[in-house]
């Protein structure tokens, strides 16, 4: 299987750390970013196969990023998984055009399964 590129973005270092530990075992190339403002230029440069975004982030929120991506001609097809502890997270994620929503705390097996499903 060809190595896939996954960009993860969450303002919480603990979550970033966890996601990296879980996902590095999948053999994919993980690029972590804590500052959501850097995401547009990062995805433009890297063109990832999958994006995992938190919702509530300072300055630019996950749903704002997602809406921008969905309108971008080149990037709109990238699958985006939204993970959030917000109660309204699923609704917001779906409205913004998320491929899948996972509520925090999530089950890591489910996360891995979801990631793989979107990469294939």
């Amino acid at each position: 299987m060809k190595e896939k590129k996954i960009i993860i973005c969450d303002d919480d270092p603990g979550i970033i750390d966890l996601l990296e530990i879980i996902l590095e075992d999948t053999g994919h190339n993980i690029i972590a970013e804590m500052n959501s403002i850097n995401i547009p230029s990062l995805i433009d440069k890297e063109i990832p196969d999958l994006l995992i975004l938190d919702l509530w982030m300072p300055v630019v929120s996950g749903d704002q990023l997602l809406k921008m991506i969905r309108k971008h001609p080149k990037l709109s097809g990238i699958p985006v998984i939204i993970i959030s502890a917000s109660r309204d997270g699923e609704e917001i994620a779906n409205q913004a055009g998320a491929s899948t929503f996972l509520s925090k705390p999530f089950d890591i097996d489910k996360l891995i399964a979801t990631v793989e499903a979107h990469l294939n």
Partner: protein, 511 residues
């Protein structure tokens, strides 16, 4: 002589004596007492009285003749009528008075006295003639009437004072309540407005009273929802309770108001007047919203590190070294269970707050009921190693509801069944079609519930006394379940016997 006083009288008597006797008899036949006093003698003594006078006064003739009239007044000398009489006697004029006199036996009687002078050719008053009627009955009736009247007046005064009292009592209540209150006539003109209304909406009584409601403050009260309430809803749904209206007022800004309207149906002067209570809940709603926001943020912030903990524990569970003993694995499993519990508690706290503020949001959609139950049961079974959950029955029904909430209820009932039946393995879940409902029952063979507690277990923060020591909890799970089922127009109830176990059941309407 048949002629008397120049032919004015002509009696049939043959002599003056005869005629005099006749006249005397005539006077005696009168029911009015008649006396003659001699004004030319000292102290104007009575020189004649008829029989009626004797009857009225109770005195006999021989006790009367020679006395001045005043002897009838006994000790009652301070009457103003006496002065009138004395003046007339002095001036030789006639008069009429009602005077209090006393009979021989001391009884009071009212004497209606006509007194007229008799003058000689030179105009000197020689005699007075007094005609008297006993008007005691009339006087008493008059007196009674007066007394009645004054009594009535007093009563009316008291009533009026009472009315004034209760009116001012009522108006002080109306002025004290912290809620705007308007009284409208049937044409929606303002009859009165209380202080709080004027204060909240920053208007004066002059600008308000007498005006049509919609025209208040340059028609800023012309609110479509308000018209709807008064014209469409109130006539058929009296009273209207808690009607929420939001409106942007030019001067005071956006207000969220809770309206209660009541049309007076009682016959009488107030009929069809409308009482309109207006509660400004702008601030309260704002506080509720901020509290809700706070809890959302707090729960979000708590869940973020919890996500990390849960994730790392799972990583650890997956990477248990081969040489590690069973204890190692079981400790990790336990930590995972408690992290899940902590997560549930945080979610429940947020739910309680939302239910209380009425902000629980349901995202209703049709779903396959049997599938939802089966999956929920399987998910719980996967974590409940000590118990066997047996699912029986099927409905093949579609239900419209918020799936995540219904799952939450099932999870809660199953977790309770496991928690409160630590020593029995079996838990039964039954699903069935009952009329237009689906019914779910979760049966355990655990500790059961006291009969007095069965009614209370659905109350917020309620914990049975005995239960709390053995099974700690916050007492919010069943409260949330009950609220969720109610929000889906269903019913949640429990049947239980102490020591025998419990059956929690709920129904949901089918699509």
């Amino acid at each position: 002589m048949n002629k008397f006083l120049k032919g004015k009288f002509d009696f049939s008597g043959t002599s003056i004596n005869d005629n005099f006797e006749l006249l005397t008899k005539a006077l005696d036949a009168s029911i009015s007492g008649i006396i003659i006093t001699d004004n030319l003698q000292e102290d104007n003594p009575i020189v004649y009285c008829n029989t009626a006078f004797e009857t009225i006064t109770g005195y006999s003739r021989n006790e009367i003749i020679g006395h001045n009239c005043r002897f009838l007044q006994a000790q009652d000398r301070s009457q103003k009528e006496r002065e009138i009489l004395a003046k007339c006697v002095k001036e030789g004029k006639e008069c009429r008075v009602d005077i209090r006199n006393y009979r021989k036996n001391g009884d009071l009687f009212y004497n209606e006295l006509f007194m007229s002078p008799v003058k000689d050719v030179d105009g000197n008053v020689t005699h007075f003639i007094g005609v008297q009627n006993d008007v005691t009955t009339r006087k008493n009736a008059e007196h009674d009437l007066r007394q009645q009247k004054s009594l009535m007046e007093k009563k009316i005064e008291e009533r009026t004072a009472d009315l004034r009292d209760s009116e001012s009592f009522l108006s002080s209540i109306i002025e004290t309540v912290r809620e705007g209150l308007l009284v409208l006539d049937p044409n929606f003109n303002v009859i009165s407005a209380n202080y709080h209304f004027l204060k909240t909406f920053k208007v004066s009584a002059e600008e308000t009273v007498g005006k049509e409601l919609y025209k208040l403050g340059n028609s800023q009260w012309d609110i479509p929802q308000l018209r709807e309430l008064l014209i469409k809803i109130l006539p058929t749904n009296n009273p209207v309770v808690d009607f929420e209206v939001e409106h942007d007022f030019p001067h005071i800004g956006r207000k969220l108001m809770l309206l209660n309207a009541y049309r007076i149906e009682l016959e009488g002067q107030y009929k069809d007047q409308i009482l309109l209570a207006i509660e400004d809940i702008t601030e309260r709603k704002d506080i509720e919203r901020r509290k809700d926001d706070f809890l959302s943020i707090a729960s979000h912030e708590l869940k973020t590190p919890l996500t990390t903990i849960k994730g790392f524990i799972q990583v650890l569970q997956k990477s248990v070294p081969e040489q590690a003993n069973d204890k190692y694995q079981s400790v990790l499993d336990k930590v995972a269970v408690y992290v899940d519990r902590l997560n549930n508690l945080i979610s429940e706290l947020l739910d309680v707050s939302r239910i209380q503020t009425g902000n629980i949001e349901l995202h209703k959609a049709p779903f396959n009921f049997d599938k939802l139950i089966t999956e929920a049961v399987e998910a719980i079974q996967a974590t409940a190693h000590g118990h066997k959950i047996i699912l029986k029955g099927s409905t093949n029904a579609e239900v419209i509801g918020d799936e995540s909430h219904i799952i939450q209820v099932i999870n809660n009932l199953l977790s309770n069944a496991i928690k409160y039946a630590p020593d029995s393995k079996i838990i039964e879940v039954n699903i069935a079609n009952i009329s237009e409902y689906v019914k779910v029952s979760v049966k355990d063979y655990g500790v059961g519930i006291n009969s007095e507690d069965t009614k209370k277990v659905f109350e917020r923060f309620y914990r049975g006394n005995e239960v709390q020591k053995k099974f700690p909890g916050m007492g919010i799970g069943l409260y949330i379940c009950d609220q969720i089922i109610k929000n889906h127009q269903g019913t949640l109830w429990v049947e239980s016997e102490k020591g025998q176990g419990s059956v929690f059941s709920f129904t949901l309407p089918k699509n």
